[in-house]
Symmetry: C2
Subunit: 478 residues, 2 copies
């Protein structure tokens, strides 16, 4: 039997980019290596690859035609949004035979429906633009990430992004009502439902959300909108240890759960790093404390600041907190947030840093942090644990900075060794080695060691079933 | 090659119940037809079937052994929780060769972790018991259904139940962190994660939630717990029409979104039915109104009743509402809820009723209701639309009562004809023909007519992949 796919693959003269140009137009194909550079490595330079070309479709029909062509020819596709992913999921391999399918041109609004609290946009719209569109409609879209100006909503969903508002509004998965997805054979799955309740069969959208482009290419999404918070109040609280932070979290949930928008744990060392290397930073509290919580309430009704003050007083009476600064005005809020926002960046000023994006059950966080600090400093005396992040979700960015004066390269060379120490403690606590960044290339080799074997086999079965040729984002996740 | 499954199937003397008794013990097998009766038909008597036996496992290992035996012998399995489903998903076929796997004995708590706000229970625990366990731990589990005393949490998840608190806390799917599932080959998928954030691979749990027992059998679940609401306030509001109800909904979201726990639309005819046939019912308002909203706020902080009063005053000033009764004390709250809770039951006193469990985008609800009323009464003059339910989720139970004095049997015989009229209007609005009850046997034939063909084929692919022999709940959904 004549096998067209095999025949096409064997043709030495086949020019993938010329074929794709027929679909999207020559000006939307990039083959020049200089022009491709921005797509081939991610901003930190941790992952780099090569590609046959970059193709930039302008519509779902074009994406479908590209994928159909790739399915026919066995061409492998790396879908790419804003190229801000942290695990190399958006970077092609070194082989050079993959194409990068950039969603960047698909950045249009399809529908705004403020009365239904829904917004339908194409996958290539940046998160910042999505938030602006919601704002223009008198609504609020809560997903908040440092990369908002560059990352795309399609990428946010492909990686099930988290961020600092997840405690109140959930992760990216929770903010979606419907999806449009191009499947591995080029068919378009049209599930752009605006419904909050729809029990007509299997939940297909969640198969694709968080699958990092390995099961289908998200081309459009129906997002949930929320009322704009009418009042906000923010506090920076000093505490004796993470146990106290956990007690504060539970008191906050009891008293102001519905308004608790942010609950971020910050260790003293992170504040020190920001004060030493950050911009316009000052210590918001009089005395130093072992750890801090950045706490924000957002609500619809008056009295949010009174309720925040009431919470802080109650926590102080119970001996949970040592000191607190409260911000109600926007500039003061920004000052407090600036400390949190600079933590990731300023770590680089202190030399090498070995990073972990992990989660454990919330109650386990304090013990987990103690065990990690002990184990890491036993192995590498002087190593400095900088564990910060979303305590309200049990998700701590458990980074380890090099000992002062140590050799940076030698320290970073121990990346896998330190990962192994931390991930073993994560496993002891029933935690996750990737809470919000995903698996991508970075953690692919680790997955079989931490995942239930039945779950892993079911993932492989899904991949074989939905992408039998393995053309979608090969070498990622599985 | 010797095929054990084929050989076993062909053995005429094979006694399924004896083999299953070896797994669960003779006392946990029911073969007597009288004793089986409660499992073979559902409480309303709409669906009935026959079965080889009922098997009642006491552990996940026993469920796995039963399913492995069934996979080996090609025996078909109907999983059953509390047998309260409304679409026949839990009822066996007429063939009599299926077994019913009742989860009722698996009703134990596995772990309570109030500090992490999680509860792990077996699938056969009733919803009422789950709520009681949360309460005992000083926490709250929000899923609220009329069948709470009988339905099981496993059944709630298998059907992705909704209920009256979904506007605030989401549907069943949203209340789950992890699952344990027995797959069609008897393997146990152990995904009992307590993590809010876990991006290590594909989202497997949502494949099984809402799959109505056709892809796997849920045996245990990790549920999210919430702080107990410390204050509640309830109002019964009279309005001129559903447009006004929608305006009230958006005003409520703007002013008290985080505390809005219930927003139920009730038409005058439903109040009339309850007043005529219900228990201890009185009209809470002075004058009759075209429609009503039962509105409830639940919060953690003081002032909920003031905020409810403020909302009502603001709505009144804007001309949105005509009259309102506010209840703060528990007995007064119960009085208001009693009207809502009796609507389904009292409809039977008015003769035949053709039911629809549909949803449309929230903004479309008023137009949708007008179109349905016009179309149905054009076809059946005198037919009475009783459209009530979860306006906050766009989910309306759009029931049609027979004309006064008409022949009940003749009216109910027009079930499919009326369904077709209503579902056509649902489709025009991009709605769902099953918002919260599922597909089961009742709507199986309708599914191909309303579902995107690519989505339907993907569902079939999932079914073939996860249950290649088709032994799990055959004849349901697909």
């Amino acid at each position: 039997m004549f096998n067209k796919a095999e025949a096409l693959k064997k043709l030495p003269s086949i020019n993938v980019s010329a074929q794709l140009a027929a679909i999207v137009g020559q000006k939307n194909i990039i083959t020049d290596h200089v022009a491709m550079a921005n797509y081939l490595s991610e901003p930190r330079g941790l992952f780099q690859g090569r590609a046959a070309c970059v193709v930039r479709p302008g519509s779902t029909a074009e994406v479908a035609a590209i994928v159909a062509f790739c399915a026919e020819t066995g061409t492998k596709i790396v879908p790419q949004g804003g190229n801000t992913g942290l695990v190399g999921g958006q970077t092609p391999s070194e082989r050079g035979d993959e194409i990068i399918l950039s969603l960047g041109r698909m950045d249009k609004v399809r529908e705004v429906d403020p009365a239904s609290n829904t917004l339908i946009v194409e996958a290539g719209m940046t998160l910042a633009q999505v938030r602006a569109e919601a704002e223009n409609a008198g609504r609020y879209f809560p997903l908040s990430l440092p990369a908002a100006a560059f990352c795309t909503i399609g990428g946010n969903l492909a990686t099930n992004a988290g961020g600092t508002a997840a405690i109140a509004y959930g992760v990216a998965r929770d903010l979606v009502l419907g999806l449009e997805v191009v499947l591995a054979d080029g068919q378009i799955l049209s599930d752009l439902s605006k419904l909050k309740k729809n029990n007509t069969g299997y939940d297909l959208k969640n198969i694709f959300i968080g699958s990092e482009g390995t099961l289908g290419i998200i081309t459009a999404v129906v997002l949930k909108l929320f009322p704009k918070p009418r009042a906000m109040a923010t506090a920076f609280v000093g505490l004796a240890d993470p146990h106290a932070a956990l007690r504060l979290l539970n008191l906050a949930r009891e008293r102001v759960d519905h308004e608790l928008k942010t609950f971020e744990l910050i260790p003293r060392i992170a504040v020190d790093f920001v004060l030493a290397h950050g911009e316009a930073a000052r210590d918001p509290l009089l005395a130093p404390h072992t750890c801090y919580v950045l706490l924000e309430l957002a609500g619809q009704s008056k009295g949010v600041d009174e309720r925040l003050r009431g919470l802080i007083e109650a926590a102080h009476e119970r001996g949970i907190i040592a000191e607190a600064a409260v911000a109600v005005l926007p500039d003061a809020r920004k000052d407090l947030w600036r400390i949190r926002q600079q933590i990731s960046d300023v770590q680089a000023c202190e030399g090498g840093s070995i990073k972990h994006d992990v989660s454990v059950p919330i109650a386990d966080v304090p013990a987990f942090l103690e065990e990690v600090e002990r184990a890491v400093t036993e192995r590498i005396p002087g190593a400095r644990l900088v564990a910060f992040g979303h305590l309200g979700d049990g998700n701590i960015h458990c980074n380890v900075s090099q000992p002062i004066g140590a050799d940076e390269a030698a320290f970073v060379a121990r990346w896998d060794e330190v990962n192994e120490i931390v991930h073993a403690i994560v496993a002891d606590h029933g935690g996750s080695i990737s809470a919000e960044h995903g698996i991508g290339r970075l953690k692919r080799a680790l997955l079989p060691r931490v995942k239930d074997p039945v779950a892993l086999e079911l993932m492989r079965t899904l991949k074989r079933t939905l992408d039998p040729q393995g053309i979608l984002n090969p070498g990622k996740v599985l």
